[in-house]
């Protein structure tokens, strides 16, 4: 079974309790409809499992089929520089049909970012390098499409739809042999 490479580290955006026993990593593409479908499922999981789980999102934009995905990933990273990564992550997924740059700027305004700084930051090479680094780690970890999930470092090949992923995580938490 494929392993997460590299493991979660300080370059990642982490949501939830850093000391939690459950670690969920998603490789996702902001313009991918399946990732859009997974978004509320993950939200629900984070709410239900609360302090028992930490969540990391790594960028995996398939730019040829999703032309806005790379820029959306950059926008989230740029929001991160102003401490609002997850706010941007959420608003992008909630509007994933309209990810043209003008709308990303509107989103930035709506979540309260300094727009001038945001416009400069999205042109920073370090941000595109960060997104490419995420892609690279995905290829090496055996990501074969989006979304791909890793649970405590191991690739999850099961069904993530409905309550299946939540139930699986509960089983892992309970130490059930999964």
């Amino acid at each position: 079974m494929s392993q997460l490479k590299p493991t979660v580290n300080s370059n990642d955006h982490l949501f939830g309790n850093p000391a939690a026993t459950l670690e969920l990593v998603e490789y996702g593409d902001y313009e991918c409809p399946h990732c859009g479908h997974a978004y509320p499922i993950v939200k629900n999981i984070l709410e239900r499992l609360g302090p028992d789980i930490k969540f990391v999102f790594r960028n995996f934009p398939l730019t040829t089929i999703h032309p806005h995905a790379f820029m959306a990933a950059i926008a989230a990273e740029a929001a991160g520089l102003q401490g609002k990564y997850w706010e941007m992550h959420d608003i992008i997924f909630e509007h994933q049909q309209i990810l043209a740059i003008e709308n990303l700027l509107l989103f930035a305004g709506r979540i309260g970012l300094d727009i001038g700084r945001f416009q400069k930051d999205i042109q920073q090479k370090t941000l595109s390098e960060k997104v490419e680094k995420d892609m690279d780690s995905g290829f090496r970890s055996g990501v074969n499409g989006t979304p791909t999930f890793f649970i405590n470092g191991r690739k999850f090949d099961g069904d993530w739809t409905g309550d299946n992923l939540l139930q699986y995580l509960r089983d892992v938490r309970a130490g059930v042999g999964v």
Partner: protein
């Protein structure tokens, strides 16, 4: 055509024995073993566009990734090829060319490739159907499609890595990347 659908459930021992003997002679029943690493990759020539052909030997001097896949347009294949399509720069960094191969026709490949904006050739193993896939032990006699099989071939045309994935599972790219990196590391140690 002999039925190979696991029908060896006859009530008569004698009949069962006959069926087993017959099964031994049916190629579809044999276990799929891929061509061995360290052996020469068989050469072939297939259509890469409606009016151009490509021979494996034309790519001597570069590494080649052969990705056999069951069918254009099927969801898993599209994902697999879309994934590899994003990896152009990774493959070129290793002086490697990716070739997708299925039994679909050159016209079907053209539409599939245009739709997905693929940056690598899709080869049509169409006539005689599956001939190259058979040569590489990557043909499924039951479905008449290619298996989901990967080969990495070095600059001299020698098979260096192979992987047969379950048909329904997109194998990703980590195995290919590891194989390419290992090849380059071995070369840099040797030189």
């Amino acid at each position: 055509m002999v039925n190979t659908g696991g029908g060896a459930t006859g009530h008569l021992a004698g009949r069962q024995r006959i069926e087993i003997l017959v099964f031994d002679w049916i190629p579809a029943e044999k276990t799929n073993t891929m061509l061995s690493t360290g052996t020469a990759a068989p050469d072939f020539r297939l259509y890469s566009t409606p009016d151009q052909t490509l021979a494996l030997s034309e790519l001597r001097g570069r590494k080649v990734i052969l990705a056999f896949y069951p069918a254009d347009w099927s969801p898993v294949c599209s994902n697999q090829m879309a994934l590899y399509n994003e990896m152009g720069k990774y493959f070129s960094r290793h002086n490697a060319q990716l070739l997708g191969i299925s039994v679909d026709s050159k016209w079907c490949h053209l539409a599939f490739s245009d739709q997905n904006k693929f940056h690598f050739p899709l080869l049509a193993d169409f006539e005689p159907k599956g001939e190259v896939a058979r040569l590489y032990e990557a043909y499924d006699e039951k479905t008449g499609e290619c298996l989901r099989a990967l080969y990495v071939i070095d600059e001299k045309g020698i098979i260096r890595w192979s992987y047969l994935s379950p048909v329904g599972i997109n194998p990703g790219a980590d195995g290919i990347l590891d194989a390419l990196e290992t090849l380059d590391n071995v070369k840099s140690i040797a030189s």
